[in-house]
């Protein structure tokens, strides 16, 4: 092994083998935040869903916002990673696993909320397709059932997409550890040896998975948008919602990825692997998505305004200059104005610049989800049914806890699994055929073949 490969392996395995007191402090703090959410949920189960701010006519608010938001964040990983794998972008190597992990955990967190939102979550199994004396079977014409199938498929695919390329790294850890660690990593490595056949099968499988997961990822957020657009409700019943949601999901996903990578770089000292150029490239993607998001918002707003349909205009004006206007214009500022300004200039497209823009985008995209749901529900067709919504403490705690849970799961994952794919990084270090230093003259002609 070359010195650089040796150093790479040591650097990336260090977080697994060495534990500092900072790790325990971070875990403790994040666990505390998660406990707050668990407490809020327990309180809700005990007292009933009335402890939330939900009231007629707004029956969907924070929790469905959280659901849509976290499913959106999940587009950071598998989709971006799959696209970068398929186009064989060399700079993807240190990024892919960091991204794929976000998908797995964000999906788990997001998928929890429809159950939390049931009111009586212990009866969640009533949603399952099983024959009962009630003679109720899933109605395949309901977008909520589509959600179940889409999210299950995406979660299964994403977990496998994350796990498969980790197998060789588990084998690496297995060979470098002893005791219980060796047993655990040995089991996770499935007896991987690294024969040429295994490498080929793994790479073929990853290619197929990448091809399959992209349409699934697009379908997931399109289907989440169908939860709204299939209803004949002002500002929801729109054909633009599918692509609009997908674009927003990728947008928030990239932002989350940038924040996660910056945190890993800082706290795990991965400066040698997560270079400023990775942030610059992701920053450019974020800029592109910000412009695309702006385009979608403009198209949606202009069409509504031009149509001047009274029920839609009541929602429209509530967000443009009514009670939701402060949230709306904050969203426009942090999703469009700030990122476009920061990321358009190469000088500002630094690690710090990208992180500032991304924090804004994550907050802005949560607001966007909220503003899609709540103003519409509070301004339906007839003005006598209008209402308002104000969140209560249990909902706010649940929202905060989701961020704590994401952080906690991410920290624990990076403690037990190499957060950067070591073998893929090594492949990236291999010399190109034209530049390779061939030690024996005949090697270049006899042994090496074109890829």
């Amino acid at each position: 092994m070359t010195d650089s490969a040796q150093k790479m392996t040591e650097d990336l395995l260090r977080p697994l083998l060495v534990t500092s007191w900072r790790f325990y402090v971070v875990v403790l703090v994040l666990f505390g935040i998660v406990l707050l959410g668990v407490g809020a949920f327990a309180y809700q189960v005990d007292r009933g869903i009335g402890v939330w701010g939900l009231n007629w006519p707004v029956f969907w608010a924070f929790d469905i916002t959280n659901f849509v938001f976290w499913i959106g964040i999940s587009h950071a990983g598998t989709l971006i990673s799959a696209i970068l794998r398929l186009v064989n972008a060399g700079w993807r190597r240190p990024v892919t696993r960091c991204a794929e992990v976000i998908t797995a955990f964000a999906l788990m967190i997001g998928a929890m909320f429809p159950i939390v939102h049931l009111g009586r979550p212990w009866l969640f199994f009533w949603l399952m397709p099983y024959p009962t004396e009630r003679q109720i079977w899933p109605n395949f014409r309901s977008p909520l059932v589509w959600d179940f199938f889409a999210i299950s498929t995406y979660l299964t695919g994403s977990l496998l997409f994350l796990y498969l390329p980790t197998i060789p790294d588990f084998a690496l850890v297995r060979d470098r550890t002893t005791g219980w660690r060796r047993k655990v990593y040995g089991a996770l490595a499935l007896g991987w040896r690294g024969t040429t056949r295994q490498w080929h099968r793994l790479e073929s499988a990853m290619q197929i998975m990448a091809i399959a997961i992209i349409p699934v990822a697009v379908s997931v957020h399109t289907i989440v948008s169908f939860d709204f657009s299939m209803a004949i409700v002002p500002m929801w019943h729109s054909t633009i919602f599918g692509p609009y949601f997908v674009a927003g999901a990728i947008f928030s996903g990239i932002a989350a990825l940038i924040i996660a990578m910056a945190a890993l770089r800082k706290f795990l000292h991965l400066e040698a692997y997560l270079h400023p150029v990775h942030f610059e490239n992701l920053g450019k993607l974020l800029l592109m998505m910000s412009l695309l998001w702006g385009y979608f918002v403009f198209a949606e707003r202009l069409t509504t305004w031009y149509g001047n349909e009274s029920s839609e205009m009541s929602v429209f004006w509530a967000t443009q200059r009514g009670s939701y206007a402060p949230l709306y214009w904050t969203m426009v500022t942090v999703n469009f104005i700030v990122p476009v300004f920061i990321l358009s200039f190469k000088k500002l497209r630094t690690v710090t610049g990208c992180v500032i823009a991304s924090c804004g985008v994550v907050a802005g995209m949560w607001l966007e989800r909220f503003l899609i749901i709540v103003p519409t529900l509070s301004h339906k067709y007839l003005s006598y049914s209008w209402g308002s919504y104000r969140p209560r403490i249990p909902e706010i705690l649940l929202l905060i806890a989701t961020f704590g849970a994401m952080g906690l799961l991410y920290v624990l994952f990076s403690k037990f699994v190499p957060i950067i794919s070591i073998w893929e990084l090594k492949v990236g270090e291999q010399p190109e055929i034209e530049d390779a230093e061939v030690t024996r003259d005949e090697a270049s002609t006899l042994w090496r073949t074109n890829p």
């Binding site: 899933p138 499935l190 024969t195 042994w447």
Partner: protein
């Protein structure tokens, strides 16, 4: 319990040397399928990596997709016909919404088939004492051959040494 076979292998620092060993063993009369090359990273540009290429996984994924499609159609259409529910003036067999479920089932099945095919064709998980050396995870490349009665260990050792093996070892493994 599977019979254990003796094997001889060399550890190499560079892929070029491993390739030379691969070629020397072939010239010494060892069949390509008998030569095992193990590394901690794939070396796609080298000839020894090319012999195991196959489109099997792609074909199986396609078959899995078709299977998923059939399951999706059966699940949606079968349920709707068996338990007809009238919803909003839609037909009982509503193909547009069913397409969503059918698509997800198709992709899920293709994904699961890919993973199962990977595990089966790559012979994972495996607890057999296969030919392996932990030094592979330190970046060494293992090139090995099972020792059979028709092969002289000396010829194999010579071929591995001549290619620049750092060390040549013998071991027993389960075929």
């Amino acid at each position: 319990m599977a019979a254990r076979l003796p094997a001889m292998y060399g550890l190499f620092e560079q892929p070029e040397a491993a390739q030379l060993a691969f070629r020397s063993l072939r010239q010494a009369g060892v069949a390509e399928s008998d030569i095992t090359v193990i590394s901690s990273e794939p070396f796609e540009h080298f000839e020894f990596s090319h012999r195991d290429r196959s489109l099997t996984l792609f074909r199986l994924a396609g078959i899995g997709g078709v299977l998923g499609f059939i399951i999706g159609v059966s699940l949606t259409a079968g349920t709707e016909v068996a338990w007809p529910i009238n919803v909003g003036n839609m037909p009982i067999l509503a193909w547009w919404p069913n397409l969503v479920i059918i698509f997800e089932m198709t992709m899920l099945s293709a994904i699961l088939t890919t993973v199962v095919s990977l595990l089966v064709t790559a012979r994972l998980p495996s607890r057999a004492a296969s030919l392996y050396d932990p030094e592979v995870s330190d970046g060494k490349i293992l090139v090995g051959v099972p020792l059979r009665s028709d092969r002289t260990p000396d010829a194999i050792r010579r071929a591995l040494d001549a290619a620049g093996a750092l060390v040549v070892k013998t071991a027993e493994f389960q075929k």
